[in-house]
């Protein structure tokens, strides 16, 4: 059972924070404290780094992803880090740093396409299924359960073969990953949205819309959908993370994107496999780190957003001693006015014109005053 509601004080005119402060991530960032804040900030930094790298790849990368020579001269294979090549070159003679930077672009495409595809299909199916119920709902739930059993990597391999027909291209690889991710993640969006819709559907405000005479489409879009998206951020981040890992896995297994088509972390890892035993570290570690950090950043953002959204998991700033605002109670019956710090003594004042002097908040009690005789 919850504690007696302490109530949020209701000012005469509500002060809505500026719009940018109420945006999803910004709002959480401002309210978080302690470890949760550290997690969120770390996640956001890593994700921002990834996004910036992907967007600014042409500026950041010293060479192209398929570039083998500069000024008509070959780079050379397995050059050690330093000089013209900050992270050295690979066995085939590509610049490692440039391939890692360009690889972030491929990863971003995969994430964006994969997330958009699965979110649209999953949310629409979940909404319709949860709202109308009946046989459609039962069939969709069974199908979703069946799809759960699909291993995403195997599906991605299949999709890679079907889509690119054996030809390796950037969009072939990206689409193969995105499609397999979509298939695997639709059931997750579907389940979550459906469960929320079933919950929201029975709330009084939806019934109220029905009593008013709103049509199904209006109820679904205006009243149900927007209240059913609470847990989506967490799934989006999981979805994005899975997309990065599947793309890398595909490349690592040799179904990835040829180096002439685009940068691909998985492909680079695959080619670096033989280098590791011969003491060449710089071909394996940079793409590996890129995969790990991207996945970690996105997951951290998701995890901390999830924790912050749940009041039972959210940590709050601790109160210093006994001090602070008095939980306001309604002073005037049914009142527009509510009693502030002056408490019961302020009732009559509130009914009339406002008092000239606003009484101060009671000073915080010292522990030493305990044990006094009752004053009332």
């Amino acid at each position: 059972m919850a504690v007696e509601p302490v109530g949020t004080p209701i000012p005469a005119t509500p002060e809505h924070a500026p719009r940018w402060k109420r945006l999803p991530v910004v709002h959480q960032l401002r309210t978080s404290v302690g470890l949760q804040r550290t997690m969120l900030v770390t996640g956001l930094t890593l994700t921002a780094l990834f996004l910036l790298t992907a967007l600014l790849a042409p500026v950041l990368a010293p060479y192209g992803w398929a570039q083998l020579r500069a000024d008509g001269e070959l780079f050379g294979a397995h050059l050690e880090p330093g000089g013209d090549h900050l992270l050295g070159t690979t066995v085939a003679g590509y610049d490692v740093l440039s391939r890692v930077i360009w690889g972030s672009r491929t990863a971003l495409y995969t994430i964006v396409i994969g997330v958009i595809l699965s979110i649209v299909v999953g949310v629409v199916l979940g909404l319709v299924s949860g709202y109308f119920g009946g046989w459609l709902d039962r069939v969709l739930v069974v199908v979703a359960d069946a799809v759960y059993a699909f291993p995403s990597l195997l599906l991605a391999i299949l999709a890679a073969i079907v889509i690119s027909g054996g030809q390796s291209s950037m969009w072939g690889g990206v689409m193969a990953t995105a499609v397999s991710i979509t298939v695997v993640f639709i059931p997750q969006y579907f389940r979550v949205v459906r469960a929320e819709v079933v919950r929201v559907k029975s709330e009084a405000f939806v019934e109220s819309a029905r009593v008013v005479g709103s049509g199904h489409l209006r109820i679904m879009t205006r009243h149900v959908l927007r209240n059913a998206t609470r847990t989506l951020p967490l799934i989006i981040t999981l979805n994005a993370c899975e997309a990065v890992l599947t793309l890398a896995g595909l490349g690592f297994l040799g179904f990835g994107i040829e180096p002439t088509a685009a940068g691909d972390w998985g492909y680079d890892l695959h080619k670096a496999l033989a280098d590791v035993t011969s003491g060449i570290w710089w071909t394996a570690i940079p793409p590996g780190l890129a995969i790990v950090l991207t996945a970690l950043g996105v997951t951290l953002v998701g995890e901390s957003l999830n924790d912050l959204a749940d009041p039972r998991l959210r940590t709050r700033r601790r109160a210093a001693v006994v001090a602070g605002e008095v939980g306001s109670t309604v002073a005037v019956p049914g009142g527009v006015l509510s009693a502030g710090p002056e408490g019961a003594d302020g009732i009559d004042a509130l009914e009339g014109p406002p008092p000239d002097v606003v009484p101060e908040v009671e000073p915080s009690a010292e522990p030493g005053t305990a044990g006094q005789e009752p004053t009332r």
Binding site: P14, A204, V211, G213, R318, V326, G343, Q372
Partner: protein
Amino acid sequence: MSRPVVEINDLHVTFDTDAGPVQAVRGVHLEVAPGEVLAVVGESGSGKTVTARSILGLLPQTARTTGAVLLSGPGGQEALDVTTISAAQLRRVRGRDAAMVFQEPSSVLNPVFPVGWQIAEGLRAHGRLSRAQARERAVDVLRRVGIPDPEHRVDHYPHQFSGGQKQRIVIAQALVLNPGLVIADEPTTALDVTVQAEILDLLRILPRELDAAILLITHNMGVVADLADRVAVMYGGEIVEQADVRTLFAQPQHPYTRRLLDAVPRVGGARLRQRARETTDSSAAPVVRARGLEVTYPGRLRRPGFRAVAGVDLQIAPGEVLGLVGESGSGKTTIGRAIAGLTHVTAGSLEVLGVEMNGVRERRFRPVRKRIGFVFQDPATSFNPLLTIAQCVAEPLLVHGAAGSVREARARVDELLEAVQLPRSFGARFPHELSGGQRQRASLARALALDPDLLVADEPTSALDVSVQARVLDLFARLQAELGFACLFISRDLAVVDLLADRIAVLHRGALVEEGTGDQVLGAPQHPYTQRLLASLPVPDPVEQAERRARWLELRGG
């Protein structure tokens, strides 16, 4: 004078919240003498539950406490300060020195263990008892709280008991260790009136037999009048008045106490509406006419369905307010929902504004919908949390094409908000920024947006504090007189219905047992169920309540 069982000295409690620290209790002093019943009354947010919970150290981690809570042990042991003792000591104190009875019996009992096991759990936590001994004690205490056939029922699971019996078991659980103090936090709020009367009776007799004091937390002044010896009134985290129960009801000192007592509705008290029904044209077609109305909810596989409404005949004339009274499960809400087209009629006939609802198609009913308003019970959930109040109130106007956009509807919305005495600026607020009473008034504004001929109000004030309820009911009566809509007013509170209704209909297990004007039904009830219902209702006056209690005991015995 013996030492008090519990002594609270200058207690302050502060909570850490998202909006910064919030003070819930500010300098409370309280004493409970052995064997005494002290009622702490106050509205939500007054800090009464926080005060009570601090006695057992049951506050959440976000709470910060200063002051002293001295709890006496059994046999004159030295009193311990609960706020400072260790967790191990606190565990020893809980149940032995003070026990708690919670509000909702069905969520307090663990559904997967037999009740006897749950009672023995408390015994075993405090002493070495063999299984057989613990069981014996459990049977004994169950017999004391009036569970029939306790030797057999001790092995039953919570779902095999009724709500009232479950609350008895919770009380048994609290009493089994013979604590000096029982804290009862709204022990009867979740129960029906007739069951409430039985539990109050039990709470009156038992602790006295066992020499335990009761700290009763409640917002129901009738319960206070029935049970308490002394009353402390809390407001805004402080105790504003403490007095003997008769003194408090007869001569309340603090203005807040006076206002609180004035706001409590009484059966047979002043009414809010003039009964000018003689002028009603009885030949006019009724707004609602039900004949042999039946609503059956389908059962699970191979099980028969549940008949919520079984053959009800009733009529509502234009401009008339019909009060529908009944306990939970009586089918009153189902009738309201059937009239609004939210539940299918399964048999009989229900005509709403000229449309037969049995087997009606949505397309045929759609045009009628704009002539019906609906006010829901829980103001917390009846607004879409993502829309502003103005958008919510404008919704009916938009749906029925009375306005093209929220902006166009704004003039009408402002007018409606003013009609329900909310400032226009509230239109820009979100529902969570309004108090319960304000939200319920906005809900009324939404229901009246299209100037309906019929309003269905499903327990519109049961979630509100008394003083807030008084204001909403007053407003309701005024708007009804002004706009002249017919109304089905559903409530389980006889006193509230009496304030508003022209006629009162009493439902019992899906059937209409009595119908008539307020004076007929409440003044001279004919049906035994109505008589029992009326006698169970505690009145907010200790002297009168003592007489009523005697009558109730007579009725129960007879």
